[in-house]
Symmetry: C2
Subunit: 234 residues, 2 copies
């Protein structure tokens, strides 16, 4: 491959860039993006601040790079298969993929308002993703209706509202968890519970046996939705 012929200095540069991205994601998720400076990241990696600045001029550039990777993962993971029947297993995996992106980039969803406010470029990019995701969620429902696995809401304009509800819950789940239990250490099970909440935005319109199969996929996942009755603060 082309990369194997790259001079070693080029490889090292690229590799440092990747290490910065990976370390930043881990530190942002652990401590919150606002509590991690570029100096922290450089120190964590044992590189000089100058080396880090060679790749990223500031924290915002790192956040934007992480966002672009995450948005690409969301788009490729949530693009529906062309044609053919959408199975319950497809739909279950679809929700898990969506929530796995949320889990992987949870620092972003936790402080989404602040991050979008600070960076208009990021906000504009996220607005595009929002349009795309609502359209996808609507298409999922339209296909289920077409193949007879879901009844249409009445009036049918509710489809758009249900898709918007799904999107709002998708973006808000980590914030809800964080606000509900200030000292909660987020675990994958909490996030899978989010996939279930999200599916519930339209599960009642889905044929019971089909809905049952979707739930089975969600609950079968490692780090599955817990049996807790509530995430409310106690």
């Amino acid at each position: 491959m082309a990369t194997s012929t790259t001079p070693s200095s080029g490889r090292r540069r690229r590799s440092n860039r990747e290490r910065i991205i990976e370390a930043s994601l881990r530190l942002f998720n652990e401590k919150g993006a606002r509590n991690v400076t570029t100096n922290h990241i450089a120190a964590h990696l044992g590189i000089s601040p100058g080396n880090l600045y060679y790749h990223f001029r500031n924290r915002e550039e790192i956040i934007r790079a992480l966002y672009e990777t995450g948005a690409e993962e969301a788009r490729s993971g949530l693009t529906l298969p062309e044609g053919g029947r959408l199975s319950a297993a497809d739909l279950g995996r679809y929700y898990l993929t969506g929530i796995e992106v949320v889990w992987k980039y949870r620092f972003f969803f936790r402080d989404i308002d602040e991050l979008l406010l600070r960076d208009p470029l990021l906000a504009s990019s996220f607005a595009d993703l929002q349009t795309w995701m609502i359209e996808q969620m609507r298409t999922v429902m339209e296909r289920l209706i077409e193949q007879g696995d879901m009844r249409a809401p009445d009036p049918v304009e509710d489809l758009e509202r249900l898709a918007e509800n799904g999107f709002i819950l998708w973006t808000s789940w980590v914030r809800f968890l964080a606000a509900s239990r200030p000292n909660l250490e987020l675990r994958p099970a909490h996030v899978v519970e989010g996939a279930l909440h999200n599916f519930l935005t339209f599960a009642a319109y889905v044929n019971p046996s089909f809905a049952e199969q979707v739930r089975a996929v969600l609950v079968a996942r490692p780090g599955k939705a817990s049996s807790h009755k509530s995430l409310r603060r106690r």
Copy 2:
């Protein structure tokens, strides 16, 4: 009444406090709390900063006072009538009351993360409101099931998840609007549309004729839900 015997200086003080509260709410809603300083508020009212500080030491104290008023309005407006049948009109009014609080205090919901982060007292108080509201939403559904106007979800633990979804949408609606259309001037119709989105979190479990009546109440309101198909950015 006791107030009529209060010395006039006491009356004037109380009246200034009220004027500060009212002007702050208006300015916060128009410009966002972060863009309004106590100096702006004093200048707007034609009073000295010193006069304002006599009542509130800083902006956070004004926000807290507004929050307490809003939380009290939410609690008194959203307390369910004891016993008796819950009618579709009751439920429609219930959703409208909930969303009217959101509209009246929209500055708070628009920047809720930032405001709660800055003020742990506010965050703790809001966490209590969250617990109470989720419990109320759950009780609404339990009563509808009991009186035969709604089918129970299966499994029944989904009631808690549906109530949590309702709460998340309630708190997130203004943020969603603001993010969807950055230059959108929020109008009551957009917020009523939020009541409809919120009702949709469990409308599919409600008997169709009952659900139809609830929607009629929502749509009949002045500033009613618009006929737009989508709030997505275009």
